[in-house]
Symmetry: C2
Subunit: 273 residues, 2 copies
């Protein structure tokens, strides 16, 4: 899931806190089923401030995790967070660009990437690169959202319009906020085998107030709201139309509102040659 | 899920067969968790040709089922189907209109309604009527789709346009193809308590060929295709635009395509007074 402002400013403690809270809200859903054996080498790409790394470490306490990000500041934050949350975790931190990773072929048993491919201009190329770092038989796990899956009540074309602006801005930045639905052909096309996609959905209504707050308000709506200045700045919309859309979207978090969103989790295997 | 043609012509063996096949595809998903105790009185409203009734009977073999539909022809078909599939089932068949049901207050322990509310002009009114037929503490189970939840690859505005025509036609007929997202406020508003909504999603790609055929092609796309003549007849679209949208939608069922759809299953309780 794109959280543009948060992503860019992940090194600010306050923004990092927001990312950690969002990860805590979604972790039971997204990390279920992901646990790596003791001693296995696991590469996490695009670890950012470590919001997912902490769950990798927690669920695979004896795996050897190598976490990579292009931002030194994010990594510093991630390191501090893991020291606080999982002091015994075996994590090595590396600064590197996703397309120029400093690793040898077949160096890893498993690779994990959450909310990373959606930011890339050529996700298929990145996947092919990652596959070469996996031993034959090793697995890749990818998690992505898809903003086209957002279903909410009350429905509103104005609310869909502001979500659409977020999608357009992410596309203009070279990313894809509708990537979840494409994981199967993307991973297959990059040479992975046994590509299995499992949708993981979040549904929030008044019976689940923690999700209404943690997901509808503080994750999804907050993420859309974060691009307001960009959307107005390039003339995608007017302040009045933007505010109308956001006001409508917020109704999904009120007492009679509902919100449903789908993440797509893919697990695939680097074939034995 | 609206299957307009099939619904209207449910008494034709061939159309009925299509409905049974669709129900068989979805039953593991939709009926999971629905089983009623021995001896309990269960009302199924809008049973049609018995496509869901057979699963109610199978999963609750000792419940006493009363299945109601407004169409005598559908009921004849349903009766024949149950006799063939579940000859020992305890099912009583009744012809009646949903808003004028020939039952006493608090007569039933449980009520089940699948793909029924979406056809009603005033679903809230129908729910309030149904609630009076339940004993205090009795449960209502409702299952509805939501066409706004359809996410597919390759994405296509033309394909979304034809789905939109289906939604518009259903609305023009007094129904609502986007009802799934509204179940929480609808049931709460009708006086039910403990309203719990569970999304049940279908995801089909090349690794699940039976679902690509059974759901993407023969349920969802077939349902949209069934309204072609109506859409052209009232000038919603042109033949060329329609065919372009359907052609695009069919790509979701091809080798590199994906399709994701969400049903909403609600279980609610008639409060102890």
């Amino acid at each position: 899931m794109n959280m543009k402002t948060a992503y860019v400013h992940g090194y600010l403690p306050r923004e990092a806190r927001r990312l950690y809270d969002q990860a805590d809200t979604l972790a039971p859903l997204l990390h279920a089923g992901t646990a790596y054996p003791a001693g296995s080498w696991v590469l996490e790409v695009g670890c950012g401030v470590g919001a997912q790394t902490v769950y990798l470490a927690r669920n695979s306490p004896r795996a050897r995790i190598v976490a990579v990000d292009h931002s030194e500041e994010s990594l510093a934050q991630a390191r501090a967070y893991l020291r606080e949350q999982e002091p015994d975790a075996d994590v090595t931190w590396r600064t590197a660009d996703l397309l120029h990773l400093p690793f040898k072929e077949a160096e890893f048993d498993h690779i994990f990437a959450c909310f990373v491919l959606e930011h890339l201009w050529e996700p298929g190329k990145a996947l092919a690169t990652l596959r070469r770092l996996l031993r034959p038989g090793g697995t890749l796990t990818v998690i992505e959202g898809d903003h086209g899956s957002a279903v909410f009540h009350p429905d509103s074309p104005h609310a869909h319009e502001v979500i659409g602006h977020q999608v357009r801005l992410q596309a203009a930045a070279g990313g894809n906020a509708l990537l979840g639905r494409e994981l199967q052909p993307l991973l297959s096309g990059a040479g992975f085998g046994n590509v299995v996609i499992r949708p993981r959905t979040v549904y929030a209504d008044r019976t689940r107030p923690a999700l209404v707050d943690g997901f509808t308000r503080n994750t999804f709506i907050a993420m859309v709201e974060a691009v307001r200045d960009d959307a107005l700045g390039i003339g995608l919309t007017t302040a009045a139309d933007w505010d109308r859309g956001i006001t409508d979207l917020r109704r999904a978090a009120e007492d009679d509102g509902t919100f449903h969103y789908t993440f797509f989790k893919a697990v695939a295997v680097n074939p034995m040659s």
